[in-house]
Amino acid sequence: MTQFRARLAGNRAVGEYRHLVLVTSAEIGQVRPGHFATVAVGGRDSGMLLRRAFSIHRVSTKPSTGTAIELVIAAKGPGTQWLASQPEGTLIDVIAPLGRPFSLPKEPVPCVLVAGGYGAAPMIALAEELRSRGCRVDVVLGAATESRLFGVLDLKRIADSITVTTDDGSLGVRGMVSDVLPDVMRRADSAVVYACGPMGMLRAVSEIAARTGAIAQCAVEEAMACGVGVCMTCVLPVVGDDGRTRMVRSCTEGPVFRGDRVRWDAVGTVPADAVGAPRTGGH
């Protein structure tokens, strides 16, 4: 976790997303798949105060140019629109790497990677890492429509199999990743599911994994004000080793959680049995 100024060395369209390359000479330490970065947006006099969080897509270091961090961003609201419209050369305030990355299996077990939309951004580096450890890698990518799929070609190259779904059927199977995942897992006998995408998808993936006894590693996306663990905005209910539910920061204890530990049905609430939950008539 280093804060540094990076130069925007690349900003190009990939489908509906922008692929950004941020170059720095700062020493940022080891980046692993699942780590994220935050970026300040809008400049010094902007009305937008909060940093935006993005999965780190890829990192490369060249002695000559320094470290290049790549992000894949959807220009949704004003902050991401600002970022997407910056010309190359702009200096950007970045913090990286943040959070806890995906846990990797010690044994070469079959793994399946499931991603929705830009959730595929961290999956390419993850697939490479898993393959280098001798794991079988199957991939399921989904999106609303073809232009919101990311990384299909790269993953095709790396993975043992790839299945694509789109809500509108514009590419691959019409439907959602959860429609095809059970089959893929059955065929590959997957032991670990890595997932990155919207909460609903993560919940479905966790349920499917639970049914087959696979381990789910889910990268969640909770709104974050600070990204570094000081504000407590990014919490969700997670069951600890002691079996008790706590409201846990997804920026420092996540964004990757074990799927069976997250109380998916209770996200957006404080379950009554959580540690420190309001007692009736109390607090």
Binding site: L49, R51, G79, V228, C231, L236, G268, V270, V275, H283
Partner: protein
């Protein structure tokens, strides 16, 4: 030329005037990678309650123009865990700690003060009587003279008399000077101002309040003019009461506004989320702003906006 940045809050002398604001720095540890936390005045820790507390449902934040709303609801581990894990870490690290406390009732505030008696590493106690993020608006003690004074008197009764007490005030009142008088009369050695302002935003998709807690606290540069005004008014009425000024401080210039208005020290809150290294940066910028104007000591500038010409 070096400017003497040391400052005094009651019996406490701080080597430097910039603090972190409660709730914006946890207990300091997470910020240490971004700047040397021993170099600023102090870390004000997240308001701690007697028991562990899970806070409000998410979403807990909304970005607003030059600010944000939060509805954390005082999530925290409770005083025991705080004293076991957080405070010792700060002490070992060599950082000064202003410990913020919050109770559900007057009695709890007293118990928290008692728990802090004799504990090493407590530079000052900040009494958070002004958090808007609680289920019951009645909990905003700082909105009524009576309840504000009652809490302060209770804390004063049980707290270590050598540790300065800061009362944290809310701007959501008709007359903040009146509240300031009440808490000082009840035993506060200084005032922290301001806490967040009660606000709301509506989600454009659902057309329902965006925050899980419906209302939240507004903070950030958006509220700075209200904060400066509050500090100015209270310093005019109570010139000898030290004030820790806060509300949207983003630069050394902003900090200087608060010092000139009458603050003896300042806290950086929301801007930490934008720039986690900002407290030390702002302290350095404040130093440079003072030096550029030929001042040799921060103390000469406290309240200067009240002097003629």
């Amino acid at each position: 030329m070096a400017v003497d940045l040391s400052t005094t809050i009651g019996r406490l002398t701080l080597p430097a005037p910039v603090l972190t604001a409660s709730g914006c720095a946890a207990a300091g540890r997470e910020l240490d990678p971004y700047f040397d936390i021993t170099r600023i005045g102090a870390i004000t820790t997240k308001s701690i309650m007697l028991e562990p507390r899970s806070g409000r449902p998410t979403p807990r934040m909304a970005e607003t123009p030059s600010g944000m709303l939060n509805s954390i609801g005082l999530q925290g581990p409770g005083i025991d865990a705080f004293l076991e894990h957080d405070l010792p870490w700060l002490r070992q690290r060599g950082a000064r700690a202003v410990v913020s406390i919050a109770g559900n009732d007057v009695h709890e505030f007293g118990r928290l003060a008692r728990r802090l008696r004799g504990v090493e590493g407590v530079s000052a106690i900040e009494v958070n009587i002004s958090c808007p993020n609680v289920a019951n608006r009645g909990l905003v003690f700082a909105c009524q003279m009576g309840s504000a004074a009652e809490v302060m008197a209770e804390v004063r009764r049980y707290a270590d008399p050598t540790v300065p007490l800061l009362a944290k005030l809310s701007p959501d009142v008709t007359d903040i000077v009146e509240i300031a008088h009440a808490v000082v009369d009840a035993g506060a050695d200084g005032l922290s101002m301001i806490n967040t302002m009660l606000g709301m935003s509506i989600d454009p998709v659902t057309l329902r309040p965006h925050l899980g807690g419906r209302t939240g606290g507004l903070s950030g540069p958006a509220i700075r003019p209200v904060a400066v005004r509050a500090v100015y008014q209270v310093h005019a009425a109570l010139p000898h009461v030290p004030i820790v000024g806060m509300g949207g401080i983003r630069s050394g210039r902003d900090a200087l506004e608060f010092i000139a208005a009458g603050a003896s020290a300042v806290s950086v809150g929301t801007v930490i989320f934008n720039d986690p290294s900002s407290p030390l940066r702002i302290q350095q910028e404040l130093h440079d702003e003072l030096a550029a104007r030929g001042f040799t000591s921060l103390r000469d500038v406290i309240g200067i906006a009240h002097r003629e010409g």
